[in-house]
């Protein structure tokens, strides 16, 4: 079974024109800058809007075919959609929200409630059953939204920016939730503007810019051979090969401590965002770990940002504000202290 997407659709100034497929059991991440048409793509797949041209099929069943006029409305497609704002129904309890899809399909109230409890148990929302959506934190709301989506046992699952609104601990929980889903037979389609998310979650990555697909490949392939400037920015995310033991990441010359992760010991690729690294003139106090002394090899000022290439022991690119850089008051080849929070380092198996 596979979800085959081959559609064109005009949304405002953006012409969406994409062609790719998602196989059952696979996670595909659609990555692109904001305004690339990613959410519109999900809306077309969900049937909330129709394609101007092209067709969408799931396992040979036509969902949308512009040439023949065939179109299944959203409620007739075996999918679930986790919205960026979670879209919980405010006047229903968490339990009734999770049971909503089953009730809409005619499942009896008692059975639907039991199933809602089961699914909430699985995703770690056991205690939320009687809560109202307005009382939930962002992470809890997302947990409920995912439970609600899973309750109907969809074949295809759509996620819009699943981590965008979450704090660090909620992100860790969400990542575990996603890894636990990776063994299911659902076809999972995630859209995100966050390249790190895409690299860590997806089996394959589809890079979309201005509505069109510019690259499709595994995370490794996309990192190795970026096709466009945006993809190259993913390279700027500083992939670092290393060895993981527990939460200790060995990078040869030195070791870093990493935050919560679901990766086993062994060879890994660690990813550090350029903006996650802070630079200091003196050794920063109060953060004993993940601090190192290094040199500035190159400085590039453009677009109101300063991109700094650090030297040994960890040669990575760092991005700071012009004001922050000037405060360092350092010579171009002077010494600085660099630091990064453990929770900002993402690891994935090599």
């Amino acid at each position: 079974m596979s979800l085959s997407i081959d559609v064109r659709r005009r949304i405002g100034a953006t012409q969406l024109d994409v062609q790719f497929s998602v196989v059952a059991g696979e996670t595909v991440a659609v990555v692109g800058p904001n305004g690339a048409g990613k959410t519109s793509l999900l809306r077309v797949v969900a049937g909330l809007i129709s394609a101007d041209e092209g067709r969408i099929t799931w396992g040979g069943v036509v969902w949308d075919d512009a040439s023949s006029g065939e179109f299944s409305p959203p409620e007739q497609r075996p999918l679930a959609y986790v919205f960026q704002d979670y879209a919980l129904i405010e006047h229903l309890t968490v339990g009734d929200n999770v049971a909503f899809g089953l009730r809409a399909r005619g499942v009896r109230r008692r059975r639907a409630r039991e199933r809602a409890q089961e699914v909430l148990d699985v995703v770690g929302g056991r205690d939320l059953l009687e809560r109202m959506p307005s009382s939930l934190s962002g992470g809890e709301a997302q947990t409920v939204a995912i439970a609600r989506a899973l309750a109907t046992e969809p074949s295809v699952m759509l996620f819009d920016e699943p981590f965008a609104a979450l704090d660090a601990s909620a992100r860790a929980h969400a990542r575990r939730l996603f890894s636990s889903m990776s063994s299911s037979s659902m076809a999972r389609l995630i859209v995100t503007h966050d390249a790190v998310e895409a690299l860590t979650l997806a089996d394959r990555i589809v890079v979309v810019e201005s509505g069109s697909v510019v690259q499709i490949g595994t995370p490794g392939e996309v990192i190795a051979t970026p096709r466009t400037h945006f993809v190259a920015e993913i390279l700027g995310l500083n992939p670092l090969p290393g060895r993981l033991r527990g939460d200790e990441l060995s990078l040869g010359a030195m070791s870093l401590t990493v935050g919560a992760h679901g990766v086993g010991d062994g060879d890994v690729i660690a990813i550090v965002r350029p903006r996650s690294v802070s630079l200091h003139r003196e050794r920063p106090e109060g953060s004993p770990r993940n601090v190192w002394r290094t040199t500035i090899d190159a400085v590039d000022r453009s677009d109101g940002r300063v991109r700094v290439q650090l030297g040994a022991p960890i040669p990575i690119a760092v991005e700071v504000t012009p004001a922050g850089f000037d405060a360092l008051a350092t010579e171009p080849d002077g010494d600085v202290w660099a630091s990064v929070k453990a929770s900002e380092i993402v690891v994935q198996p090599a």
């Binding site: 969900a46 049937g47 909330l48 409305p73 959203p74 409620e75 497609r77 999918l79 679930a80 959609y81 919205f83 704002d85 879209a87 919980l88 129904i89 405010e90 006047h91 909503f100 899809g101 809409a104 399909r105 609600r148 989506a149 109907t152 759509l158």
Partner: protein, 270 residues
Amino acid sequence: MSRQQRHDARVPIILVVLGWLAVAFFVVPILALVLRVPWSSLSDVITDDATAEALTLSVFTSVITTVLAIVLGVPLAWLLARSNIPGRQFIRALCTLSMVLPPVVAGVALLASLGRRGVVGEILDDWLGVRLPFTMPAVVIAQLFVAMPFLVLTVESGFARSAGTVEEAARTLGASPWYVFTRVTLPATQPAIIAGAVLTWARALGEFGATITFAGNFPGTTRTLPIATYLALESDIDDALLISMVMVVISVVILVALRSRWVGAIGGVR
């Protein structure tokens, strides 16, 4: 000098004077009504057959009007708020015109359309033998005509506000458009519907001009409380004062209920 006093000192004196004048303008008539009501004969008037008849008729017809306003007005509000029907602005203007029309004109318009020789009334009479003017249904029609726009406008803004991804999410969870409307949209709009219904009911209860023009003034059939009040003025002013007092009490109860619970649903009033 306290903060509060210094703050007050900055308010232009002319606004304070005119503002309090406006307060007096609203309070004095109500106060005068309360003062002049012959409370001793209260029980006589309330238990008086003619008054009781008018009160019952008013409550009965205004409740029927409110129910009909919800049945017809909620779908109309939905059309105005959510659909892409052409000429939506124009339709909204037409459907709320009766709100600003002089009520007597509304009554004349109803006679022209539903009267015995009216455009539609003639057909009703010839084909079905139905004559609406000067009957109890005519009272309801007159009230509905002038009062329903209050519900339509309130509910329309409720629908516009409740629009969002929640309904789309419900669709993707397997809900049909009708299921989404009844289980998601309507509950989200409930405060606006209640507020609109209360406004409509209050307007229907006080309806006078359109009712007396289209439905006339028959005791027990079309003589509602406002009409009874007006008639009482010509015979016994004490009766008029007492019946007026009854309606003041009803209005105050409505206003308090709205303030406490649903006022937020009415066009952004806080």
